[in-house]
Structures are given as C-alpha cells and as structure tokens.
Symmetry: C2
Subunit: 403 residues, 2 copies
C-alpha cells in the first residue's frame, strides 16, 4: 500500500471503515463513504513544487488519491482540462473575468472520465470482475470505456430517453446496455436488485467511495491553474452532485496540507426547472432534498430526481455562502448557442445551464462587478447531437456561390 | 515579429515568398508553400530542457511555429494528446508494442484543431476577416470553432453526405454551412470561385501555409513523448495528407536543430478501397496521384479523391521506406469495434482504418516482430454517430433483471 489513504468515513455518522477492502455505503445508515488520508504525512511528503516534473494529468495529485500502484492505473489519457478565458462570452453575460473549465476534452468527452478512472482503477485493485451502474448518460459511457480498458465487465442501466449517441457509445465499449422507462432513479432500483442477487459491484453515484476521489481532481486542477487560489464563484451543473462534493473535499484537503489559504469560493448549484430537487431544498432551508416527481429536461446529466449526496451538496452550498437556482430548457439552449457563436465552444446542455445561471445571477447582482467566475462545462456538446444549436446547413443551388 | 520564421518556400519549385503577408499557393506553379525557419537561430535559442517549464500544449514548440505574439494566439486548450499503450489491442493485432496517439482529445474532437489553431491565429495576425474552406468534415468544424473564438467569419462548403453531427457542430459555431453534391473536390471548386469573386481567404488544405505548421506539432509531441526518438513505424490515415507532411517536416526540423538523430520512422499511408488515389500512385511508382472517380467510404476524412500535397506524401513514403495500403469499409468497422471492446477507445473510422492496416501489415510481415508501431487515431468516434459499432442496447422487460 503506497497510498496515504487511511480509512473510509461515513459522511453522515462518521463511522470508520477499512479502506483496503471492498465497501459500498455505510453499514449503519447507508450514507456515502469518504476516503480519508493521513494529511500530516502528505504535508511532510510533498509540496506544490514537487509537481513540477509530473505529467499534467489527474494522476499528478497522487498523494491525495487512493490508488496503490502507479504502474497499474487504468488510464485513457486524462489530461488536466483547460481553464479558458471567455472574454466575448463574458461580455455578453456581464462578467469581465469569466473562465470555462472545459471538461469535454477528457476521454469519453465528459468529466465522468475522472470518476471512472479512479473508480475502475480501485475496483481492479480490489479484484472486482463485474461492475453495474445506473446512469443518466455519461457516467455509464465512461465506466464502460474504463471497464473495457481494465478487462472488467460493465453492466449499464439507463433511461430509454438517454441521448442516442451516449447509448451507442456505451455499447461500443462492449458494455451490456439495458434501457428502462423513467429516470436514473428507476435505473438505480434495477441495479440495486441486480447487485444484491448476482454479487456485482454497485458503482451507483456515491455508493462506492472512489468515483468522488477522481472528481476531486477538478478542484486540485482549478486551484493549481489559479496559482493555488480560488475564484470568487464556482458555477456547477448539479445532478448527483459528486463533482461539487469532490471539489469541496479537495479544497479542504489542500487547506489542511497548507497549499491554500482559508478563503472559500461560493458554490452555485445549477439545475433545470423541470428537475430541481436541490434548488427546492436549498430554498426551503431543508437538509435533504425530496424525490422530484416526473423529472423533465433535455439536459440529461442533471435529470436526477434525488441524489444520495444531496445533504453534502446542501452543506457545501451553505457553508460556502453559495446558492442554488434552476433555469429553463429554453435558457439552456440559448446559452449553448451563445457559447458556440461567441467563443467556439460546443458546450453540453449542462454547461449551457451553468452559463444561463451566470447570466441570471449577474443580472440579479448576486455575482458582483469584478468577481472572478469559473463555470464548469461538464462535457462535449458532441454527445448531444439531438440538441446542437445553430442555423441549419443550407443546400447550395447548382452553379451558385455562398453568399 | 518574434517568430523564427524567415520565409515561405514552394514545395515544388523552391521559390521564396514573403512570410509576413497574406499568401496562398506558389505564384509559379500553384503548389503548397512551406514555412521555413532560421534553424541555426532556433538551435542557439532553445534546447529540449527549456521546454520543461512550459505548458503541455501545442504552443510549447513555439520557436518552430510561425506566430508572432504569444499573448494573441487563438486557443481552445490544445493539450498534447496522450500516446496510449494498447496491449490488449496489440495482442489482437499481433504487435506487442502498439501505441495509439489519441487525437480525439483535442478541441472539436479531432486533430484538425491543431491546423485550425495555427491557421486562424496567423489569419488574425494578417488581418483576415472572412475565411472560406471546403471540408470532408472535421476541418470545417475546427476552423468554424477557432473562427468563432477569433471573431473571424467562416464559410464552410461540405459534401451533403458529411456525417450529421459534424454538419450540425459546424453550424453551432455560427459558421455559414453550405452543402453540395459530390466530394470535397466539388466543395473545393465552389470555394475557389467564391474566394476569387469575393476576396475571401481560401483555407483549403495546403492552399494556405499555416495549417500544416499546426499539424506538425503531432510530430514534435510524438518525438518528445518517446524521449526524442521515433518508433519504427507510424501508421496514418491519409486524406489530404497534411498531418503526414507536417510530421515529416517536423522530424526534419528536429534533426536539423540537433534534438533527434537521423533514424527515420517508416510512414504508412492508409486509405479506403473506395478512395485510394495515393495508394494507387504509390503502387504505380507515380510522383502524383490521379483524381479518384466516384470516391466512396464512410470514413469521411479519407474520402479525398485528389490531394494537392500528394507528391509530398509520396516522397515521404518512399524516402522513409514506408508504404501505402487500402482497407475495406468492413475492415474499418471491425477494427473500430475491436478498439472499443479491447481498450475502451472510441476511435473514428479513419482511426479504425489505420488499425485495420496494422493487422494486414503484421500478417504480411511488413511490420516485423518487436517493432514499435504508433497509430494515429485522428478523431473521436463521437463525431460519427451513424457509424458507432457494438451491440444494440436492449429494453429491459418490466420486473426483470439484466443477465
């Protein structure tokens, strides 16, 4: 064991569990387990300057990741994603210092690759042979890809309304893909029963402890790209919320090892008006969300009616002085189009939702003049062929020229 | 002018042209112009060790690139693409040391981003306001994205058979997209007339000198990733051939500045049996290819019936001891599927063609036991939704479980 990980800890009741054997959720209350590290040892072992000669991939933060053997990672080339200035888009939205962290440049075209890379690496270390998971879309594709790379069988259950490209992509990696009516919640119920009956490893969001460790690297990268500081505001499209929880955890770890000061970024959770359980809970002052009936939005990744880690997301929003808001599908589509035309960025619907939220928060004054705002575009628009914006291509009449 | 570029040189007649003003092709013979550098000055200014503190993007090789002002580059985050080991796929193809350079992780999902990043950067430096280009698919999308980012108008003419996702992607960047019957050759004829009539800048393959300088970075990266050495064999799907010419040029420059020894890699050009003009010319011992009548293959990027730089490609193949071969659409599809299932890589059809060629060349003994083989997967399979392989997703019967 070369990792600095010491144990798993329940996010609700804080009970400890063994990190070096297969675990799912807390045996007491079914809550997510978080990997804990010996942060004093990490502090003593490594400083920011030691990263200098390492590759710019998610694995550069290895002392704060849970895997044992660097030569046995399951990788498809997880480069650190660019943090792009977006001056023309920022001008449109009224935010002078707007930056987009473009997660579409990861393998499988979305941020889900981070979680799958760590999750599958760790599953293989722990001798898993079959993994099952429900998905709203992109997690299934990512786990299918890394499973194929690792030689682990992957079973994916997804809503029958999942975008076509994602369905076919997942199958192209050789995964078993099953379609069900309803949402990811319905797919999750099937996976739960299948895992209980067949002994498969359940890689549902936050039902295994390693996906979040991969997502955490978004926070490490962002902090390092900004010289170990944070922006005033981080805007994040929220489905299961693992990325937000991961960043929250990453920032806490960086502070603990002394790489970053105490100043926090305000987190913003963005959902769709057709599926906004976390927004409603935030507004109601509740500690948990309620299952959203009949969730509807074309932004498949945020069509999650109830997230297992909702209470951690809500805690992060409140402790950071952040907020939550829902945008309409029309606003999402409009902002996908603006990103394409103003910056040449083909953002996914979830990224469009985050941009729409920036526009609203700036108009409302919640985002203040001069604040630095980082928006996560969680994936490539290429995965949502049905939803691409822009004018239709035109047939050129024979003998004529473009105008 | 901070660049080490000194002039442009005709690839056929070697006449010189001014590098710091707008140029298209050689005024004498219409051949492509190549950017030439003061390589002695580059040698004196920089060594491989100086790259250590630079970002891992295409811009790290700036002394061998033609742009003037680093703060004014047009970028969407061109990370160096991973060179992935592919042991399971290699086992299937009989090549123990097989590596895939995965160009699908660039902005817009293909290697075309490299050429567009440099081409649009340089066009903006030279005050171009409208760029027109024909495309077999992905170049149009890439130039549209970088044009949007730069605030330059882009007009794209493409075959009406171009994959749907690519058509819609290109439009989503705000480009004017026009569809014509036939192939890229027919689109090129339209662009040629339009540019002559309207004064637009013609960014057709090799009709402007900077796209190739961007593509050249594939060669720099590959050499650096292998410790400034080359593999025995480089397998490259060949449409316009700019990437191959670019790497050929890159390797020559690296040798000239003393970063690499004289040992060459054998280049392999891969085309489809339905459109194989370079393969035919190579087999016939010809110096140029002939226009291929009725080009047909679902690998859109290599459906190029006649490349302006064919004579340079043929020269590179022969001087390197390389070869050219054509594979069938069935072989392409089969190898896309194998890459997905064995390695979790969603290769594009052109990448599938290159893998199919490796299988053939190994069976024939042209690739020898123990040789290191690098295959370029030129783009993400996500852009070819119609062509994704794998079993169809299945509807799960109510109440039942996945098997």
């Amino acid at each position: 064991m070369t990792s600095f990980a010491t144990h798993l800890e329940c996010a609700r009741c804080a009970q400890s569990f063994e990190v070096n054997s297969l675990q799912q959720t807390c045996a007491n209350d079914g809550s997510p387990l978080l990997v804990r590290y010996d942060l004093q040892k990490v502090h003593d072992a490594v400083g920011p300057g030691d990263l200098r000669d390492r590759d710019w991939t998610i694995w550069r933060y290895r002392e704060l990741l849970p895997y044992d053997e660097p030569s046995k990672i399951v990788t498809l080339g997880e480069n650190c994603t660019p943090l792009l200035e977006a001056p023309r888009l920022g001008e449109t939205l009224g935010v002078a210092d707007l930056r987009i962290k473009d997660e579409g440049l990861l393998p499988t075209g979305t941020f889900k690759a981070r979680g799958a890379a760590l999750g599958v690496t760790r599953a293989r270390e722990l001798s898993v042979t079959t993994i099952a998971l429900p998905t709203a879309g992109n997690a299934g594709a990512a786990w299918a890809a890394y499973g194929a790379r690792a030689g682990i069988r992957i079973v994916v259950v997804m809503p029958e309304t999942t975008p076509q490209v994602i369905q076919r992509e997942t199958a192209a990696y050789g995964a078993d893909v099953w379609l069900v009516p309803g949402s990811i919640a319905d797919a999750g119920a099937v996976v739960k029963r299948a895992c209980a009956e067949k002994g498969w490893y359940d890689a549902s969001t936050l039902k295994e402890p390693y996906r979040i460790e991969g997502k955490k690297t978004m926070g490490f990268e962002l902090a390092e790209q900004l010289g170990w500081t944070l922006p005033e505001v981080i805007v994040y499209p929220t489905g299961g919320g693992v990325g937000l929880i991961g960043m929250w955890k990453a920032f806490a770890e960086l502070r603990e090892i002394g790489w970053m000061d105490q100043r926090a970024a305000r987190f913003v959770s963005v959902q769709a008006t057709g599926c906004a359980p976390i927004v409603r809970a935030f507004e109601d002052g509740a500690e948990e969300s309620q299952m959203w009936p009949d969730p509807k939005t074309f932004a498949a990744g945020i069509r999650v009616p109830k997230a297992l880690g909702d209470f951690i997301v809500l805690r992060a929003l409140r402790e950071s002085g952040g907020t939550a808001l829902a945008v309409t599908d029309e606003e999402i589509a409009a902002h996908m189009r603006i990103a394409g035309e103003r910056e040449g960025m083909l953002v996914c619907p979830e990224g469009g939702a985050a941009l729409a939220a920036v526009a609203r928060l700036r108009r409302d004054g919640w985002i203040r003049e001069g604040e630095r705002v980082v928006v996560f575009n969680t994936g490539s628009g290429l995965k949502y062929a049905e939803s691409l914006q822009g004018a239709a291509p035109r047939a050129l009449a024979p003998g004529s020229l473009p105008t």
